[in-house]
């Protein structure tokens, strides 16, 4: 899946690849051209990425090479111990979780899993969790509370799975329960929207003390396609809907829905994966250390006030 707006960049990158292959034996021959091309690539990618439209950002947020939870676990966590099951019905792989160590800080890590291959995609349903996934997440968060571990939640989902069995087993209740419980869990909760923040499926593990977002992630009440097909009666109007819905990190920061944006390297997280993940790690460490300094009762109160203030536009009257 290539991004069409990346075409000029991809062209240059391809040429660089070619030259590097050719030049394997004789470095000097192509060196200056490669250097020049790389400089050019950088400049193009900066230009493209500085001016992404919201709809282009959606494409970047969904890019198949974007770091996924598995990549974060592998690259910025040590001692990850995956924990399974909701103790009630099953083990959903659309949301995974377990103990993890991030820069010497022990945490409970949870997050949507999209999968890095077709096989994995199917196993975890492209990150569209069933109620079991949300219930497992809640179980793990309660365990984190018992063990006094901060919770890190990585959000990357098109949405909760709209399936028959998901309804049957209470998709709505599972998400609602999490929203209520997460507002009261007595340990720091840090949310990072790493890719797609898809509606109820996203916020179902998205209530916390710090809400952080990667620069090219998106977070929306409805997919642009869904919004377009309802309000424009034409799914193809998705770019327009994306524009209007204000789903990009800069907009969400203005709306105070998020606390911080983690900048992505020019060219996007899918191009500079390691760099991106290190930035995420550094931000997580910063917030873990910061939030640990607050007493849990104060933390829970502040968390309440944080969400209570969202969408409060008049003067307070309480």
């Amino acid at each position: 899946m290539d991004l069409d707006f990346e075409a000029p960049l991809l062209e240059v990158e391809e040429r660089i690849n070619e030259l590097e292959k050719l030049g394997k034996g004789s470095d000097i021959k192509f060196r200056s051209e490669i250097t020049e091309l790389k400089r050019k690539a950088k400049s193009i990618s900066k230009k493209i990425y500085k001016n992404l439209t919201p709809w282009q950002t959606v494409q970047v947020a969904r890019h198949k090479d974007r770091p996924l939870i598995n990549n974060y676990i592998k690259n910025i966590c040590s001692n990850f111990i995956e924990l399974h099951g909701d103790r009630c019905y099953g083990d959903d792989q659309g949301i995974i979780g377990g103990f993890a160590t991030i820069g010497n800080r022990q945490v409970m890590l949870i997050g949507h899993q999209k999968g890095n291959s077709v096989e994995e995609n199917l196993k975890c349903n492209f990150g569209m969790a069933n109620p079991e996934g949300y219930r497992k997440a809640l179980r793990l968060m309660r365990l984190a509370e018992r063990y006094k571990l901060p919770i890190v939640s990585l959000i990357d989902t098109p949405g909760a799975y709209p399936g028959l069995e998901a309804e049957e087993r209470g998709q709505a209740e599972a998400i609602a329960r999490n929203l209520a419980e997460m507002s009261q869990i007595a340990t720091p909760i840090i949310i990072v929207i790493t890719g797609e923040g898809g509606s109820g499926g996203a916020i179902g593990i998205g209530v916390g003390d710090a809400i952080i977002m990667l620069e090219n992630a998106v977070y929306s009440v409805i997919s642009p396609e869904g919004c377009a097909s309802i309000l424009w009666r034409d799914g193809a109007k998705a770019p327009l809907a994306a524009e209007n819905l204000k789903i990009t990190s800069d907009e969400l920061l203005k709306l105070k829905v998020i606390d911080e944006i983690i900048p992505e390297p020019a060219g996007g997280a899918h191009r500079e994966r390691d760099e991106t993940m290190i930035a995420v790690k550094q931000t997580l460490v910063k917030y873990i250390d910061r939030l640990k300094r607050t007493s849990t009762s104060k933390l829970v109160n502040k968390r309440y006030e944080k969400f209570a203030a969202l969408g409060r536009f008049g003067k307070k009257k309480r």
Binding site: G163, A172, R177, E181, L231, I247, F307
Partner: protein, 281 residues
């Protein structure tokens, strides 16, 4: 039955003055009878939507309702515009049509002398969608119930989050649930009444986490829309899918209460819930 359908069509206009046509079974019922029957179809028991005033009249003692936070209205946090125009215009039209400021009315009142706090959603106002004003009113009413130790009852009726407010509408799910969680912690009763229809973001927030969840017969309750699910799983859904009866069977409702019995139900139930909070008059 072709002849009947035909005559139905041609006569429907004049008939509509006197008759109400049941949205479910299409039976013709005298308007007077329809209203006297609380908008419940005598033929098929379909519980038609009530507006907030009808709901309040049905449940509260006459003259006891005192509205709170009535001045809270819609906001347009993302200056939303769609194919049909701006959200600001749409909201203005909704206000004009309903005489409401938001999709929910909140306040306090008595149920057979037992003081309660209520929030009543009204589907007429933009499909009962959950916007920032809706969420704020629901939260403030919860805080009022908490301060006064009174049971909180929400009658939901909603198509879900109000997408015209973008992410802010999504946040109302977390916001309202946080308010409910505080009631839970304090032992203040919270009862959810899911009326037809309660779907999407409202089903996935305060509506499904009552101390007890009750509903009316046949009410549509679900997270995802029927069409979306059918497209996803590539099969037809059972007829009773996402009805109150279906949810009861699957463990998510405590009880289905017919409209005519709703007030009596609360009269029976509330004394059980009122052991912690003091009874005030």
């Amino acid at each position: 039955m072709a002849w009947f359908k035909k005559s139905q069509k041609s006569e429907s206009k004049e008939k509509s003055e006197l008759w109400n046509i049941c949205p479910s079974c299409k039976a013709h019922v005298y308007k007077e009878e329809w209203i006297a029957g609380l908008k419940v179809c005598p033929k098929c028991n379909y519980h038609d939507r009530l507006n907030y005033q009808e709901r309040l009249d049905l449940i509260l003692d006459n003259g006891t309702f005192k509205e709170i936070n009535s001045e809270i209205s819609t906001n347009d946090p993302i200056n939303f515009v769609d194919a049909k125009g701006s959200y600001a215009e749409k909201a203005k039209a909704a206000k004009k049509k309903t005489g409401m400021n938001e999709a929910v009315v909140t306040g306090c009142g008595n149920i057979n002398d037992i003081p309660v706090v209520v929030a009543v959603m009204d589907f007429r106002f933009m499909g009962g969608s959950l916007g920032s004003g809706t969420g704020e009113k629901i939260l403030l009413a919860a805080e009022y119930a908490l301060r006064n130790k009174r049971p909180y009852i929400i009658f939901s009726a909603s198509g879900g989050a109000r997408m015209h407010e973008g992410i802010i509408s999504l946040m109302q799910m977390a916001k309202t649930c946080a308010a409910i969680a505080r009631l839970n912690k304090a032992g203040v009763p919270y009862i959810s009444v899911l009326t037809h229809p309660t779907t999407g973001g409202v089903s996935a927030s305060f509506a499904t986490i009552g101390d007890i969840n009750i509903s009316e017969p046949g009410a549509l309750i679900g997270f995802a829309g029927r069409r979306v699910i059918e497209e996803t799983i590539k099969q037809k859904l059972p007829k009773d899918f996402q009805t109150a009866e279906y949810l009861l069977e699957h463990g998510f409702l405590d009880k289905i209460v017919a409209r005519k019995d709703m007030k009596e139900f609360f009269t029976q139930f509330l004394p059980y819930a009122m052991k912690t909070p003091k009874r005030r008059r």
